[in-house]
Symmetry: C2
Subunit: 906 residues, 2 copies
């Protein structure tokens, strides 16, 4: 028979920190603290297995539980020297949740269990503090009513009945704070609360302490399945099957008088990682007062030594011991009852990215952890590195914006960082404004963005869109450019004609200031000040010396450790020299995806001429005009990469993306090209596609119009020869997109190699190069062995591969993906984290078949997944050679790749 | 060392009919005929291996070939008793191609080789016919110039230089036919032809007979790679790697005088299969005259006996022997030289579907073949069965339409059959006209069709579209409905406003007669008379007694044989009772796909109300109105199927398909629903999708709007109960579309089973049913084991599976698929014949994983591939339980399924 209840108290415990799965984090750590002799009130933990039983048996308990709890109660009574429900020296209990991973505030807690009209009097007498006793009783009835008897309102509109009564009483008495109420006021409140319970539930408040404690246990177990907890678990990937433990322990009191206090201590600062015990406390208060923010707390590191010198000394020493014991920064709940320190909880502290990096480095330096431990995902989640690269809002300025009521909305945080600037509704305007007045800060505000907006996006500080999610064009391009982006702000009404942006009653015009926080998705009217990232100043702007920035040094240290362990290469997706240099500064070892269509948009007139030409010769003439531009673009990129490999993807999007779809634009082109409007309209209609994603694009363009591939290949090889002639090493890798059939790649490979041969003969020199392909439709993965006959490398395009494998367009999945996430149909957004069972299976199949045919086949990934830590780990496991991601994700990918190796070792 | 040259002649031969791969069909049969003692002029065959060598070595021959050919020439000279190039008794030769499969007219032939200014005189003397000798010489120089020296024009615009001279000479001489020219005229022509060759090529015509024969051999090998041959092979799936053999044999002459003739005999009629030797012949002519149609040939069965009684007798006996020997109808080339019969070729005769069925049945009855042999694909290609089901144009009436110049264009033959009727441009008009005047024959003429046109399509005799290919909506629905359809007629200009259809100078108006031939893709102005199919009259219209129709009886015989052998079940795709009954008459064993959206279009107002409702309750109210209609539809279907299983697919298309996209339509709805136009416009815009194929459709609808699934499930179960209560067996199988995740199916399955339970309780009875899913996106196949946990059956939706696996939209692949076909990027249209390497691999994976999880899992296919013979065979091999196809494809699928079993045995 399994043990359901684990005791702890007075230097002994049934469990320890290793039993986290069974006892939850809180229970395991309480046991551990007892074992190492720290002052913890006696108590017991009911296991998570009981929660599982409870859930699977419609709220019933294992039959043996009752006896075990009875024995545990006796244990507490013995250790604490008082008796539960006793009319002289009553024991009071708390009942708290505690899952394997901390889920702060998501589940329920009941304090002061055991009070009734008899024990309250005993407590008054034993504590010598009648007001305290009645204050505790008032709190208990309220909390029990809310949590156990279900009177807590479920919607924000409803009022908590107890708060209503409390507010009413305070008004009546003309006092502001709860602790200004008299003992008589509190007695009246207890009576009023009980009446409210009777009215609302039809039942009396339970006076029996045993009934009380079992009610509380049931409420805590049940709270595992409340909505908040569900949402939280989904967000943080915690399985619903884990269940919570329940911790019942003796109450100690921080509200017995001014020699009492309660608080939360951190062993180091959670925001910046600065060493030293710190935290909040309140004199003469109970724990929830600190969290509830009813009174402004004091700072431990500032005043506690003065207020309670002995307790302070004990607390600091205990904190330091706990940090050493757990080998990580601790977040500790404590109560000081009549100058005696009691510990109620300890756990690894949550921290920002800044703090995570500093703490990891400091702990290594202090000899507490190894560098392998420092870079584990628990200590530095890779995504958190982003915080070190992005400008941030000045906290004071942001706080002010909130209190001024300038927070307009909170939408999807799609591109990290903070940006403030003038509203601009059109990409062309943004470009023109910045060209005219360099340094102008703009926020491009659009319903949605399209490839034509790219240069405007580059000109702006940040992008704000009303439509689209984390995989929308705006989001993708922003991350690649390292731009701040907030998208899917659906309550923005954008009126392009009027040039206005409306949110509720607020109307902003073109040129008005607006600020967006890409970390949080917040949108503010007006300006919020920003601070630049030091790492960027050192690495990219180069206006800060490395030795001047501790943040940079620690960042560099973590990166060095990561590179020591990782096996995956990390490349970047970039198509401009500046972007490429930035990525190299962040550690990119090559370009894994250079999209050539962005270059095309820079010469849209020539492209349009090419598209509108019906004859091959006319197309060739138009392409000849594009050749020098493309060649120049490639030269710039090859120089910036200085010998690192550059994977160039041939033209991919369907041709209609380059044509205007509105009459205005069509008229303009007709005029520019001196043809009838009808000709343009007809061609646009001809090129219209019902499902452009599955249409005439990728290599299908280069096959039907071989002159396009020929021009692009020529531009690449001419540029490579020129750069090599200038003494710079160059390694072009030409990538054919959207291949599904062996024959497609054979066709394009031959064409490319023929052009290479011709260029090399013309130039009297040659350059080493590779020809390979994207694997981005399921068929390509299924017949990867056939395709590998013609490919020197593969690059998995997991964006398109996800779209086709799941039959799910990332432009159109908005209306159902949120529902899917909320109802656990999918575990996460498949465009953010690779779908391992489906898409991942194809990736593995592609790797296996490809290498079966060609053993040394180089294989990478160049979808957005290349910058997602979980996906990077998958890529490591699948045996890929490298991942390629947007420049700002390069450090993230480096760290995730190292973690993959370390996790594999375990 | 391999043997390159195989001799035959005078009762002996190196090869025989079994060496078809090496000697080609013609060479193998010439050898076989020699071996069985039939009169074949001596000759030799150069093997297909030499062709392969020739192609792989830039037109060089194996070194040993020369000596082998020299020896073979000596063999012919000896057998024929004359000498090549001899100035007294010269041997003349023919040189013909001959591949493994017959490719009539695609490659080259040279006759009368060995003539020059010397041998022509000898031939004149030895034949005693100077005119014959010079006629042969004239023919030879022309043919050699065209074929070997490359003077044959490559485009239709150019004129053949020899024809030009010939025409000029005939005009000059005032004669109509070649054989009205005198010997002197012919001599002049030979000289003029030679001059033309000198002028065009700069070289003299080669007088050396040896140079002539090697030139001819090279020309025939080279002709394997000419354009026509390429196109032909692509169309008939003949591998380019096979190569052709070359047959060189002694000339015999049908043009020595009136005791000579040449012709083509069939052992039975190729059009209807009627027994008896028949065919064409010409007195005093060479073989190509029959084919070229220069003179009107005589019929063997009518006049040959009278013209040449002995030769006729020999020919008929020889034909009968050959048919018995080859156990199939033969197509025989023969020449009668001075009353002696010579055989130049025999091969299995091409035949129509009608003839194929009759011949197969007759040969079984005559004891020549077994029933297993009768239904092989060589004897009855499954597609040919269609001809027995469709109305046909009356041949005379069609011939007249052509000669009247009423053939407007030839486009894609998308729905077999022939239809004639009045032009109607709008589906609603078509429906209204036929409702008002039942029996009116209409042809619906549209740029393209959409789901809203379905009732109009049903009302029309046939559908003609300007856009779209064999997989367009028009084509798919036509095949399902058994409607005649011609689509992709791109030179039709349709002006809906003016109500006109323009092709070149012809302008037709609404109400004008038009006729379309779905077998050939021809479109005629005016009426062309049709004949109904007897099979349909017996099975469906039931106005013809079976015993009155031999065509029906043979059809039924073939179907009976097929059913005896096949293992695959055959179901139909149908969603209306009439359609369902028709399919059952054709042998369908159930419905494999009932699309419920067609029913929705019949109640479009209620659907639109549902879509436009933002609240669940309003949607439920709208759905409640739809419930009785759906229930009624299902009742009808269940009754029609009378106990056979019916697979009902829940709503699949994205909701925007039900809303009008033009302002006119939106205004109309706004008025009907009494809401502002803005509301409609906004909702239409909200629902717009960039890639609807990959959007909010399939089970994604039923999950986000569970009330839709609930209504459909209720309609199905209420209908099932009602039908069962009426004493009719019923087996509903509910199919959830577009499932990719196990969780999706789990969600829908639970919902459906809950509704079933509720309905069964309400009705106090229950019905056996199954819940399963479509496998139509790659992920579903990849995780089929997970999905099978919740599915009682799978049905592969290979249309969508092909679209997603290949990343290829069938609405958008037009601009590249033809190029792909023409350039051998793909072997065939993947929407017509399943892509075995890609999509097929997923199907096999899905079957294997699905059955691993659930061993008895029933698996079918319900894409258009279910009616394609090659795909049906694949399905058999993959272990599927059934295929489902449109009603008119049911017999095709039954036969193909039987052939799959028989081919497996071999």
């Amino acid at each position: 028979m399994a043990k359901n209840v684990y005791l702890f108290g007075d230097g002994t415990a049934d469990g320890d920190a290793k039993l986290r799965e069974l006892l939850g984090g809180k229970g395991a750590n309480l046991a551990e603290m007892c074992k190492i002799g720290l002052p913890v009130p006696a108590g017991f933990t009911i296991t998570t297995d009981v929660c599982t039983y409870f859930n699977e048996h419609n709220g019933e308990y294992p039959p043996e539980l009752k006896a075990e709890v009875d024995a545990a109660m006796a244990f507490i009574e013995e250790k604490m020297g008082c008796k539960f429900g006793d009319k002289d020296n009553p024991l009071l209990l708390s009942c708290r949740s505690g899952a394997r991973e901390s889920m702060p505030g998501m589940m329920d807690t009941v304090l002061n269990i055991g009070l009734n009209d008899t024990t309250v009097e005993a407590l008054a007498k034993s504590s010598g503090n009648e007001r305290f006793a009645w204050d505790s009783y008032r709190r208990f009835v309220q909390m029990y009513g809310d949590v156990v008897l279900g009177l807590k309102p479920t919607s924000k509109e409803e009022e908590d009945p107890f708060e209503e009564i409390l507010d009413h009483t305070k008004k009546e008495k003309g006092v502001k704070f709860d602790n200004d109420l008299t003992t008589d006021d509190l007695k009246k409140l207890v009576s009023d609360f009980k009446n409210a319970i009777k009215t609302k539930t039809g039942n009396d408040f339970p006076d029996d302490p045993n009934e009380q404690v079992w009610g509380a246990i049931r409420a805590v177990f049940s709270s595992w399945n409340n909505d908040r907890a569900f949402v939280y678990r989904r967000q943080y990937g915690i399985p619903h099957s884990w269940g919570t433990a329940v911790n019942v322990m003796a109450m100690v009191f921080g509200n017995l008088g001014d020699d009492c206090a309660t608080g939360v201590a951190l062993t180091r600062d959670g925001s910046l990682g600065t060493p030293g015990v710190n935290g909040d406390y309140l004199i003469n208060a109970q724990g929830e007062d600190v969290v509830a923010g009813i009174r402004a707390p004091k700072r431990i590191e500032v005043e506690l030594e003065k207020d309670m010198p002995a307790a302070h000394k004990e607390l600091v020493e205990t904190c330091q011991n706990l940090e050493k014991h757990y080998r990580d920064v601790q977040d500790i709940e404590f109560t000081i009852q009549r100058e005696k320190l009691w510990l109620l909880q300890t756990r690894n502290a949550k921290r920002t990215g800044f703090a995570a990096v500093r703490i990891a480095c400091d702990l290594v330096q202090e000899g507490i952890i190894t560098k392998e431990e420092a870079i584990t995902v628990k200590r530095i989640p890779p995504d958190d590195l982003n915080q070190l690269l992005q400008p941030l809002f000045d906290p004071e300025s942001k706080k002010k914006a909130v209190s001024d009521g300038r927070l307009l909305t909170t939408a999807i945080n799609a591109g990290p960082g903070a940006a403030s600037g003038k509203i601009c509704f059109h990409a062309v305007d943004a470009e023109a404004i910045v060209q005219k007045t360099p340094g102008t800060k703009l926020i491009l505000v659009r319903r949605e963005t399209s490839p034509e907006d790219i240069r405007g996006m580059a000109a702006a500080q940040g992008i704000l869109t009303a439509l689209g999610g984390t995989s929308s064009h705006a989001a993708l391009v922003s991350r690649q450019m390292g731009k701040v982006c907030v998208c899917g702000a659906s309550n923005l009404e954008i009126d392009y004609k009027a040039g206005t942006l409306t949110v509720g009653d607020t109307v902003l015009k073109q040129g008005d200031d607006i600020s967006i926080d890409g970390f949080t998705g917040e949108v503010f009217a007006g300006e919020v000040e920003t601070r630049p990232s030091e790492v960027l100043q050192v690495l990219v702007e180069k206006n800060l010396a490395p030795e001047k920035s501790e943040v940079y040094q620690r960042f560099a240290q973590v990166m060095e450790w990561a590179d020591e362990f990782r096996k995956l290469g990390v490349r970047t997706n970039a198509d401009q020299p500046g972007q490429a240099s930035q990525a190299v500064a962040f550690g990119a070892e090559g370009i894994g995806l250079c999209r050539t269509e962005h270059m095309f948009f820079d010469h849209i007139d020539e492209i349009r001429e090419m598209i509108l030409s019906n004859a091959k010769m006319a197309r060739e003439a138009a392409l000849a005009k594009l050749l020098p531009f493309q060649r120049g673009d490639f030269e710039g990129l090859f120089k910036a990469m200085n010998g690192k490999p550059v994977t160039v993807r041939l033209l991919d999007p369907p041709l209609h993306e380059f044509l205007p779809h509105d009459e205005e634009g069509q008229k303009e082109i007709a005029k520019k090209m001196d043809v009838e409007l009808d000709v343009i309209v007809k061609r646009v209609n001809e090129l219209h596609e019902f499902n452009p994603m599955l249409g005439h694009r990728g290599c299908r363009l280069g096959i039907v119009y071989p002159e396009i591939t020929a021009m692009q290949a020529r531009a690449i090889f001419e540029a490579a020869c020129a750069v090599k002639a200038a003494g710079i090493e160059v390694h072009p890798e030409i990538m054919v997109p959207l291949v599904g059939f062996e024959t497609e790649l054979a066709n394009q490979t031959k064409l490319i190699r023929d052009v290479a041969q011709a260029v090399f003969e013309e130039k009297g020199m040659s350059v080493e190069y590779m020809v390979g392909t994207m694997i981005e439709i399921p068929r390509a993965a299924l017949v990867a062995d056939e395709i590998a006959k013609h490919a020197e490398f593969f690059s998995f395009g997991t964006n398109d591969l996800t779209q086709t494998t799941l039959g799910m367009s990332r432009d159109d999945y908005g209306p159902f993906i949120n529902y899917y996430r909320e109802h656990d149909i999918v575990p996460n957004d498949p465009f953010q984290t690779i779908d391992q069972n489906g898409v991942g299976k194809l990736v593995k199949m592609g790797v296996e078949l490809g290498r079966k045919e060609r053993s040394g086949l180089k294989i990478g990934i160049c979808g957005e997944h290349g910058g997602d830590p979980a996906s990077v780990k998958f890529c490591h496991g699948a045996g890929l050679n490298y991942v390629s991601c947007s420049p700002f994700r390069v450090p993230v990918a480096r760290l995730a790749a190292a973690q993959a190796v370390l996790e594999e070792k375990k």
